[in-house]
Symmetry: C2
Subunit: 543 residues, 2 copies
């Protein structure tokens, strides 16, 4: 039996486009004499559909899509992800399902058993877990059909009380098929391979694993579908690209030539961010990006990523100096814009700033220059950028990094503006790594931009290091707190200064109100700010 | 047996303050010769603690709090809500628990069985559900101890597959105690009484129900704890206030004098919003609010609520006219500010706007005046308001209503700014009702403010009705879509114009990106924008 595997990029709620892609893949597979084709989790509606699942109209459109797809499945069967109604009269109203279609009819609907409900996942918000297990019989093969998380309950302290593979293996399947929607973070593809390989070895079964690609706002899906034989040998699909492959399943599935990518995490982060920008614009129907180019590292790296994603002709950079801007800020910014062939404009904020100062003079009188005036500059820049967006149809790219977002070192409604935060999940120390990666073949980001001390340039001779510890230390403490959920005692035990730890954790917590209003942040880490990290604003823990 | 019931306002993560309140209530109860005192759900840490639950350090502090509380429980037992570790080696790492403390020791820990995971609730994100049921024996009484949702699995199509009261009733309890954290919306107190009464009648048992009060950012808890006897007669506690009462439990609990409040929904909304503002400031340690007062209805109502919450001496209003502002805007705004004894300043945005126009002239040239210039005005006002915040320590109150937030009729980084959105869950038609309620004893909001046609005044002779259908129609369609999750066909079948429905639903969906960056919105409806409504930004459903 030939099995086709379709790794595709779906658009949430865009049923026409999703069905069209699925049908086109079915036609390809038929031409290649496949007898079965497999699509990823919730393929018909895109993953994650989130609260669209609460609309019966949305679910009805999923069923309607399945009907259209079924008509194409004459000579060939298909496995397609879709929500389905729970008709048992108890429990949540939906299942997260895999529809097995054969002879133009839905022959079987298999439901997901393990519903991830942590980090960015909310599946128990919508779906009832499956508790009954049987295999699908097709062409003399028994298929253990599972959905994503169903294969992940493997630790010594498992998150779930049921184990689908334990149950399914009692029915002696010939193969495991897993349809997934597994989002990227920099170590996720390794974790996936490890989990799937362990399943193959433990149950002595080949596995066909199908993931989706593409960006769904902040969530980035990297693909990396794979075929694993019962000896744990892996053939890996492309990352960050649609892919379509066939596997021959005679007596068994055997991987003759192991194909595993060996890509460094920083390149994965780079590729993920480029896809994240590109797909955000494509799915929203926009072409052109704008950003504020300060001459600093963050906006330089964001610009380079935007150019790669959208093309230099689709990116405009605004250089908006004030009298606090150093000379090299403008020259450094010009240099990278010119290197990347990006149009730029130099727009001074001096007059607007003076005018606002005059307006406020009767109230601020002779009070000293404070954060109020610093923020005013950042907010004037935001007005100018947003005016270009509103006038010409740009989307503003936000250039804040994760370290800043964490400690609130940024101006709400100022440099925190934007339709999309490109590097908001990238710590400052990783931004340096990204810059080096971008410069690996030729200097794109000027040496001076990388080497000069980071500064917001909102008051005379300001440096980030005036108010923050050095980034290599800051980032490590943030990582322990944010990614590891370590408390102060645990972090201090790692050798960090008690007072410093206390100050930093407090900064993180009291700035939750700013992050609440931040643009969506492309997620590249196991714990990004946004939907995967949910904290109360009026909380008073460590603050 | 005398049972004390403590309806308190807890602060998330503020263990010192929560423990202090709990201990004070224990002392009160002891003085009144109580033998048992009952506190609400997750009392030690406040509800909802959200992802603070992912920090072991946070959970350890909960246990430590329980230790301190237990020391006070010498002559009297206590039921205290707290998370507890799941030590079974399977499933989520925590339970949502009620600690039964007697003789200074934790005698029993009862876990919540039904974990709400819909709307604003994420409990399955953290907690493993309980599946075993037994009663607590205390002073010759058998107590069926349950936690909030445990009593709510009652419809014909129940959301959960287990029913705790069915299980517990097999053990023949004498009383049901339910510790809760049930947030407010305008019909929730009625729903609660109905559910609890039905439980009392069905199982023929008295129920002691303890809720918390107070605002936890967007979630408003209204209290309304109650005692229900087995005939379904109810004694209701205060709403929106801390309360402490005793109930006598001899052979049975009997309500001699039914006490049920009969308050109109619009008053509940008013009281909830006032508490929401007050508690937000109190928990963050701020005193002073600022807002932009346009002369329109929304800012007038917000101002009146702010004054009630914080006192007129703690509120500053800025009137920021442009040359598009009508004469009556300023006079209406002044009138309400003066009526409420609120300080105000009139700050023209003319010069700042001209200055920005000049700055942009080389790029915008002679292009027509568009949304770009409209938004610039709103954004200049935001800069001024935020400059006051940064200079003097105000929190900016956002004045947008739910109808605007729904269709995106507002300027991101302009009038959408603020630390807290006061009426962002109040439809425009409800804002009129609120104004009438505020004016019930004396005219506070000027007649002209209520009667003039709503306008953003960002271009000549602009009216909301230029780009939006009349609010009474708009709000009804929005309600069917947002609160009922009806699709277009269902709404059209209710008698609304097909094209209008299509345009409005599209406006709602394409403006998700704006709402992503909105301030937290005080929740008074069953479906507020914010944590209870989660939609993908790049989705393409009905758009």
């Amino acid at each position: 039996m030939k099995i086709a595997i379709a790794q595709l990029n779906f658009h949430i709620g865009n049923f026409d486009s999703n069905v069209e892609k699925i049908v086109a893949a079915i036609h390809n597979a038929k031409r290649a004499n496949a007898e079965l084709i497999v699509f990823s989790e919730l393929a018909v509606c895109g993953y994650p559909p989130r609260d669209f699942l609460e609309f019966d109209d949305f679910i009805d459109r999923c069923y309607h899509s399945i009907d259209i797809i079924a008509k194409e499945c004459d000579t060939m069967a298909a496995i397609v992800g879709s929500p389905s109604y729970n008709t048992k009269g108890k429990g949540k109203h939906l299942f997260n399902s895999a529809f097995f279609i054969e002879n133009k009819k839905v022959k079987k609907i298999v439901h997901k058993s393990l519903l991830p409900n942590y980090d960015v996942f909310d599946e128990y918000r919508y779906f009832e877990p499956n508790l009954t297990f049987e295999c699908i019989q097709y062409k003399n093969k028994k298929i253990a059909l599972t959905i994503c998380e169903d294969l992940w309950n493997t630790s010594n302290n498992p998150l779930y009380t049921t184990n689908p593979m334990e149950e399914l293996s009692k029915h002696h399947p010939d193969v495991v098929i897993n349809i997934a929607a597994s989002p990227f973070y920099y170590h996720q593809s390794d974790a996936r391979k490890e989990i799937l390989k362990n399943n193959a070895l433990q149950y002595h079964l080949p596995i066909i694993y199908v993931n989706q690609i593409g960006a769904q706002t902040e969530l980035l899906f990297d693909g990396g579908s794979m075929i694993i034989d019962r000896k744990g040998r892996i053939e890996e699909f492309d990352y960050f690209k649609e892919d379509f492959r066939m596997v021959e399943f005679k007596e068994d599935i055997t991987i003759e030539k192991v194909k595993i990518s060996n890509v460094q995490p920083i390149q994965k982060i780079h590729d993920a961010l480029v896809m994240g920008i590109r797909d955000y614009f494509q799915k929203l129907g926009f072409q052109k990006a704008i950003l504020g180019l300060s001459g600093g590292l963050d906006s330089a790296v964001t610009l380079a990523l935007a150019v790669e994603a959208l093309g230099s002709e689709n990116v405009l950079a605004l250089l908006m100096p004030s009298h606090f801007s150093s000379e090299h800020s403008v020259t450094d910014a010009k240099e990278i814009a010119e290197t990347l062939h990006v149009s730029y404009e130099i727009i001074s904020i001096e007059n607007s700033f003076s005018s606002l100062e005059d307006t406020l003079k009767p109230y601020f009188k002779d009070l000293p220059f404070t954060i109020a005036e610093e923020n005013m500059q950042a907010r004037i820049r935001a007005i100018i950028l947003m005016a270009f967006c509103n006038k010409f149809g740009y989307i503003l790219l936000n250039t804040s990094n994760k370290s800043e977002a964490a400690v609130g070192y940024g101006t709400l409604y100022g440099d925190m503006c934007g339709g999309l935060s490109v590097i908001g999940d990238v710590y400052k120390t990783q931004v340096y790594e990204l810059a080096d990666f971008i410069n690996k073949d030729q200097i794109i980001i000027p040496k001076n931009t990388i080497e000069k001390p980071p500064s917001a340039e909102l008051k005379p001779d300001q440096k980030d290091s005036d108010s923050l510890p050095p980034y290599p230390i800051l980032d490590k403490i943030l990582y322990e707190y944010i990614e590891h959920c370590f408390g102060p005692d645990e972090i201090i035990q790692l050798g960090y200064d008690e007072q410093l730890v206390s100050i930093i954790l407090k900064m993180v917590n009291i700035n939750e109100y700013k992050r609440k209003q931040s643009p969506p942040i492309l997620r590249i880490s196991p714990k990004a700010f946004g939907m995967g990290r949910r904290l109360p604003i009026v909380g008073n823990y460590l603050s």
